[in-house]
């Protein structure tokens, strides 16, 4: 039934407008996630709705001219003063979304998220059958970063990056925390790189304020990291046991081979990362293209295996 979505929206729109004496069509459109044209269409239906009885006073009153010409909605006389309760899908999706916020937020925000959950849990008869686990790093790190972002402060990170396969201590201006593919990342301006970088929160061992304010660098790129623009790629042919690579890393392409092996194309922003991956996969690697991309890994493997001799 195609009228369903509009009816659901109207049952919410009427109480929404009733509580807001004058509101912009554009604001309503944004809150309801529909086009302004749809809002105007909805208003045309609402003016035909009201108390049964058919008397003029029974109907919802909206100044349609004001809405059309000035983009402002003024409504009165709605018999619907409260929205419909949540459907099960609505309650569960909202509760899980708030849980996600709690999992990755710093102390004060996580507390606010928990109190939202306490309020919402009274509205459902059972806990949502969804479990979220997001790698979010230590509480201290999150709290310090939350504070630094809020107050515009610079931090020094102790970072266990995989690219260098060692610990570095970059000084950064932190801007936001993103969650992608189940892990949290700090998006920050790295002073030594003079560029934006992402740092996985669970690899930030320590975050300390340097005492300097953060500089202004504009808005960071919308998604992703230097990986998205990496000019180089390497193609790895792997045994079936390494198929998890395609699921775990942002591969550009993956082909399943007839015998169950996989061919993955990986973007390479920092060669150290690829070296570490090849060393880790070891016997599961069938070939690397270009062969030069494996040179460092082979040199390390040679040095490491000769240590025993």
């Amino acid at each position: 039934m195609t009228a369903g979505p509009q009816v659901a929206r109207l049952l919410t729109l009427a109480p929404y407008l009733q509580r807001r004496e004058y509101v912009d069509v554009t604001e309503v459109a944004a809150d309801f996630d529909v086009k302004p044209r749809q809002v105007l269409d909805d208003l045309q239906v609402l003016v035909m709705c009201g108390l049964p009885g058919g008397l003029p006073d029974d109907l919802i009153e909206i100044d349609l001219d004001l809405a059309r010409d000035e983009g402002v909605i003024h409504m009165r006389n709605s018999p619907l003063s409260r929205p419909l309760r949540f459907t099960r899908d609505e309650a569960v999706s909202l509760i899980v979304a708030v849980e996600a916020v709690r999992e990755v937020a710093d102390g004060p925000t996580a507390q606010a998220a928990q109190s939202v959950l306490d309020k919402l849990s009274g509205l459902v008869s059972e806990a949502p059958p969804v479990r979220l686990e997001v790698a979010a790093g230590g509480d201290d790190v999150r709290d310090r970063l939350g504070q630094a972002i809020d107050q515009g402060l610079q931090v020094r990170l102790t970072y266990d990056g995989l690219a260098r396969r060692g610990t570095t201590t970059p000084i950064v201006d932190p801007v936001r925390v993103e969650v992608r593919d189940g892990a949290s990342y700090l998006v920050a301006w790295a002073l030594d790189r003079n560029d934006w970088r992402s740092y996985r929160l669970d690899r930030i061992a320590v975050a300390e304020l340097t005492g300097q304010p953060a500089g202004g660098h504009g808005a960071p790129p919308v998604t992703g990291t230097s990986l998205d623009n990496a000019p180089d790629t390497a193609t790895l042919d792997l045994d079936a046991g390494a198929a998890w690579v395609a699921e775990y890393y942002p591969v550009r392409d993956v082909t399943v081979l007839p015998d169950g092996g996989v061919k993955v194309v990986l973007p390479v922003a920092d060669p150290g990362f690829l070296t570490g991956l090849i060393l880790r996969l070891g016997p599961l690697v069938r070939s690397v293209d270009p062969p030069s991309a494996a040179a460092d890994a082979l040199a390390e493997a040679r040095a490491a295996s000769s240590q025993l001799d």
Binding site: M1, A3, G4, Q6, V7, A8, R9, L11, T12, Q44, C49, L51, P79, L80, L84, R85, F86, D89, E90, V92, S93, L94, V96, A97, V101, A105, P108, A112, V116, L123, P129, V130, R131, E133, V134, A135, D150, D160, R165, G166, V177, E178, V179, G182, S184, A205, G276, I278, L279, R280, G282, P283, V285, S287, E300, A301, A303, A304, S305, L308
Partner: protein, 315 residues
């Protein structure tokens, strides 16, 4: 055409909400302008469809009779308490959380459900404050094609069939778990007679619901044991490693420093013998030496030699 339908459905809802008693079908036919001019057969059909539509949106229409009046005729009503979202109020910090939550789901139908839920919250009188979106952007994605049918079946408590590791399964879904960006299903596998964990990304082909909704109950603590299987195995052994200073932090952070020199340091590392410790050590290349136990040192050396054999063999 759709406008008239929406109009009629909203008016029917209002009529049922505002009546103080059960209202008969005939009375509703008079009260709701959208039913005027329909012959009886068409009205009956339309009314049934309208009730179904409203119920599918979550409108709680009750059937019953008010004994004093229409003892033979069924009547209908909506009780305000059942219809209305209870009053909600949120602090500014809580509103900021809700505004952030609006952006969390990257999966289309869940994102839509979240938007609908939040517009109901705003319609309760809570003001959304977009400026408070702030610096936190958590996202949950659900790209696996099995996700939507499993979610629907889970909500409906309906058994599903699908192929997993080349074997056909019949499963009662208990829980969906999200870990490291991948989704897992915990459920009772009829074909194995036991609870099982399935990685959604490995389900090949369709997930098909079978049988009736409401076919089973969720167990009380359904998935805890199963999900523990996703956790890393508990350490049962200890290695002694030599690591170049500042290198291989993924090992040293799990370990205990023993003797720290200038260039090299010694670390005690607990590990699970059945786990991936050889891979983890190998990743450190020449920056990591295994001092003890000897079997582990040999295993790591064999791992590196196998890599060399394979890659150096190819011309």
């Amino acid at each position: 055409m759709e406008r008239r339908t929406s109009e009629r459905l909203v008016n029917l809802t209002v009529a049922l909400l505002t009546a103080r008693t059960f209202t008969s079908k005939d009375r509703l036919r008079d009260l709701v302008e959208g039913y005027h001019g329909l012959n009886t057969e068409n009205f009956d059909r339309q009314f049934e469809r309208d009730k179904d539509t409203l119920r599918s949106l979550g409108v709680p229409i009750e059937t019953g009779t008010d004994d004093r009046y229409f003892a033979d005729e069924p009547g209908y009503r909506i009780r305000r308490n059942d219809f209305e979202l209870p009053p909600l109020s949120f602090t500014p910090a809580e509103v900021a959380v809700l505004v952030t939550a609006a952006q969390v789901w990257q999966q289309a139908s869940m994102a839509e459900s979240t938007t609908h839920a939040l517009t109901k919250v705003w319609a309760s009188g809570v003001e959304p404050d977009i400026d408070r979106l702030g610096a936190l952007r958590p996202h949950i994605s659900a790209k696996e094609s099995a996700w939507q049918p499993l979610w629907d079946a889970l909500q409906a408590r309906q058994i599903v069939t699908f192929t997993y590791h080349d074997v056909a399964r019949r499963v009662a879904p208990f829980m969906l778990a999200y870990r490291h960006g991948a989704w897992y299903l915990a459920g009772f596998d009829d074909t194995r007679g036991a609870p099982r964990l399935f990685k959604l990304g490995r389900i090949r082909g369709d997930v098909t619901p079978t049988g009736q909704p409401g076919a089973y109950e969720l167990p009380d603590t359904p998935a805890d044991e199963l999900l523990a299987g996703l956790e890393e195995a508990q350490p049962d052994s200890t290695a002694l490693l030599e690591v170049r200073s500042g290198r291989a932090p993924w090992l040293t952070r799990r370990g205990e420093p023993v003797d720290q020199g200038q260039e090299w340091g010694r670390w005690k590392l607990p590990y699970a013998s059945g786990g991936a410790v050889v891979d983890d050590i190998a990743m450190g290349g020449a920056d990591v030496r295994v001092i003890e136990p000897p079997e582990l040192a040999l295993a790591v050396a064999a791992h590196h030699r196998a890599l060399l054999d394979r890659l150096e063999a190819t011309p």
